[in-house]
């Protein structure tokens, strides 16, 4: 009669909602697999096209990952979602835009294209950091000890303020970003043609992330950041100026966003006041996907999301006969997020929080 006892035990342990969750997850998985198989059979794409999707996704994912780092760094240290981070990204883009236009006016742009590009990166980093520092000082620092929802609301407020400040300052229409002649055309990676801006994005994002990781892991400031993230009071007792470390964290995250802003602008060659919103949400998704607060997680999440978004519509939806599958790109992204969180509730690399519950 052992099986009966087992059955009784399982019945007590799991209830209907567990079954529904699993059924839900499995059915979506089944549909996705079916769609993928059908797509591979029916669509005319060869392996080159598929690889191209992956490379473009990798590039898009690099931008997401850079922005996601800002969310994750701030979350790691303050346990708050810096909702205004997308706008910090946007201000970086505007900063580099105006400097770029000025450089173009004085002819510097055409004479020293590489140097100009480097200047743009630096300017965007500085502008983004400045905005981030102001936001931290005005909207977050006074609320260090407030309940968790409070800084979230100020973050949303800061996001609106920044977005509509940009709108009132710089106008509601899109502004053209200076064209970069050296980034025209495409390069050949593994026999696959990919636009130069995309290639640049892949390279720069990888470099920045490696740099950031090393910084946080090995420098004194980086270690102080990790210490502050764990326990602010004890960190202060070590002689660490907690407020300063927090500001440094914001600057670090904002610099990443600044770099992402230039890469993004170079690809889309225009800058708008609400351009931070969608990448912001996506990067946030990526950060959660990887396990928020976890630096490698944010990178992984960013690339994962970028590739999935680029590959998903063609791979899954086309096979299912969905019209205009590219419109549903975000649906795929968010569905994947739900799926990942169902099976790994704290993200891909997130710590199993449950272990420290009680």
């Amino acid at each position: 009669m052992d099986w009966k006892r087992r059955f009784e035990y399982w019945r007590r342990r799991y209830d209907l909602t567990d079954v529904v969750v699993w059924a839900f997850g499995l059915s979506i998985l089944a549909v996705a697999v079916y769609g993928a198989v059908r797509s591979l059979q029916t669509t005319p794409y060869g392996w080159k096209q598929w690889l191209q999707f992956v490379l473009y996704g990798f590039s898009q994912g690099g931008v997401y990952a850079l922005i996601a780092l800002g969310y994750t760094l701030v979350y790691g240290i303050l346990f708050m979602i810096n909702f205004a981070h997308g706008e910090i990204f946007m201000f970086g883009a505007f900063g580099s835009l105006f400097v770029g236009l000025a450089l173009q006016r004085i002819g510097f742009w055409d004479r020293y294209p590489v140097l100009s590009l480097i200047i743009l990166f630096l300017v965007a980093m500085v502008v983004s950091s400045t905005v981030a520092v102001i936001v931290e000082r005005v909207a977050y620092r006074p609320l260090r000890k407030a309940p968790r929802l409070v800084p979230l609301i100020t973050a949303i407020g800061a996001s609106f303020t920044l977005q509509y400040t940009a709108r009132s300052f710089f106008g509601s229409g899109p502004r053209a970003y200076p064209e970069t002649p050296i980034l025209a055309g495409s390069v050949n990676i593994l026999g696959i043609q990919i636009g130069k801006p995309y290639a640049l994005t892949i390279v720069v994002s990888l470099l920045m992330m490696a740099g950031l990781y090393a910084y946080v892991q090995f420098t004194k400031t980086g270690k102080a950041m990790r210490a502050v993230a764990e326990n602010k009071e004890v960190a202060a007792l070590m002689g660490i100026d907690v407020d300063r470390v927090i500001v440094q964290t914001f600057i670090l995250g904002a610099s990443m966003a600044g770099v992402a802003a230039v890469l993004y602008s170079v690809i889309y060659i225009q800058v708008k006041f609400f351009m931070g919103f969608i990448p912001g949400i996506k990067a946030f998704t990526a950060a959660v996907l990887g396990g928020i607060g976890n630096i490698p997680g944010a990178m992984l999440g960013g690339y994962f999301l970028g590739i999935f978004e680029s590959l998903g519509p063609a791979l899954i939806l086309e096979g299912l006969g969905v019209t205009a599958p590219n419109q549903l790109k975000d649906v795929i992204a968010f569905t994947m997020l739900v799926m990942v969180l169902i099976f790994r509730p704290t993200g891909i690399l997130g710590e199993a929080l449950a272990e420290e519950r009680v």
């Binding site: 102080a224 202060a236 007792l237 070590m238």
Partner: protein
């Protein structure tokens, strides 16, 4: 002049009046202990000294200098270190990184090396485990790390908040021995303890706190002989 001097200190947690006019002194080279029940204000007193809980009234003087004007992280530079309640080690940093954080304010590389050696001599276990994440240490080892980390700041005054909490009785003895050893090496110690028995054995002087006030003070011998202390804090009927 006393090394540390608190005069008529008042402090609040929100609306709770945690300290109601605490005055105490710690002389150079002493071990002074604060005893009392939970909520008596022992931890609050330490938090006031490090300005984690800025007093609303009164003075805190260290080597003649008023501390109330500084934020916490500057106080450490003045020569005060604290072993916080519940150890407060950085679980996701390695043992070595924890010790480095202890020396955060210092730039004298050679002296830091020396102090590291000193800590490792005091606690050989830490040397064996220096590459390990601090969170994986056992309770006793974590306490050693917390003390070692505080020593890395080369403090003249060491504040210790319940170093025996949660340790096996067998370890408690050795921790108290270590505290005495540190004191003999020249560090002044202000010790908060629940375990009044042990604390009074190693301390020179002590203060008894109750609901935010000092109700009794004296040398360790005097306190041990006091009837009220025996009954309430030493559990002798």
């Amino acid at each position: 002049m006393a090394m540390l001097e608190l005069h008529n200190v008042h402090a609040y947690y929100g609306h709770i009046h945690a300290l109601k006019g605490i005055s105490l002194t710690v002389e150079k080279g002493e071990i002074v202990t604060l005893i009392g029940a939970n909520g008596a204000g022992k931890t609050s007193t330490l938090r006031v000294i490090t300005m984690l809980l800025p007093p609303t009234e009164g003075q805190v003087r260290f080597e003649g200098e008023d501390l109330t004007q500084y934020p916490t992280h500057v106080i450490v530079r003045k020569g005060i270190a604290m072993v916080p309640e519940g150890r407060g080690i950085f679980a996701r940093l390695t043992v070595m990184e924890n010790l480095e954080m202890g020396a955060y304010t210092r730039t004298d590389k050679k002296a830091i090396e020396e102090d590291l050696e000193r800590v490792f001599t005091l606690f050989p276990r830490l040397k064996e485990r220096r590459r390990q994440l601090a969170g994986t240490l056992s309770g006793g080892e974590q306490q050693m790390l917390a003390i070692g980390r505080a020593l890395m700041a080369r403090p003249r005054l060491l504040l210790m908040d319940e170093p025996s909490m949660g340790l096996a009785p067998i370890l408690v003895e050795s921790i108290f021995e270590t505290i005495q050893q540190i004191n003999r090496q020249g560090t002044t110690i202000l010790l908060v303890e629940q375990n009044a028995h042990m604390a009074l054995q190693i301390a020179h002087r002590g203060y008894v706190l109750r609901t935010g006030e000092i109700v009794l003070q004296g040398t360790a011998q005097e306190l041990q002989a006091n009837e009220m202390v025996q009954k309430t804090y030493l559990g002798m009927a």
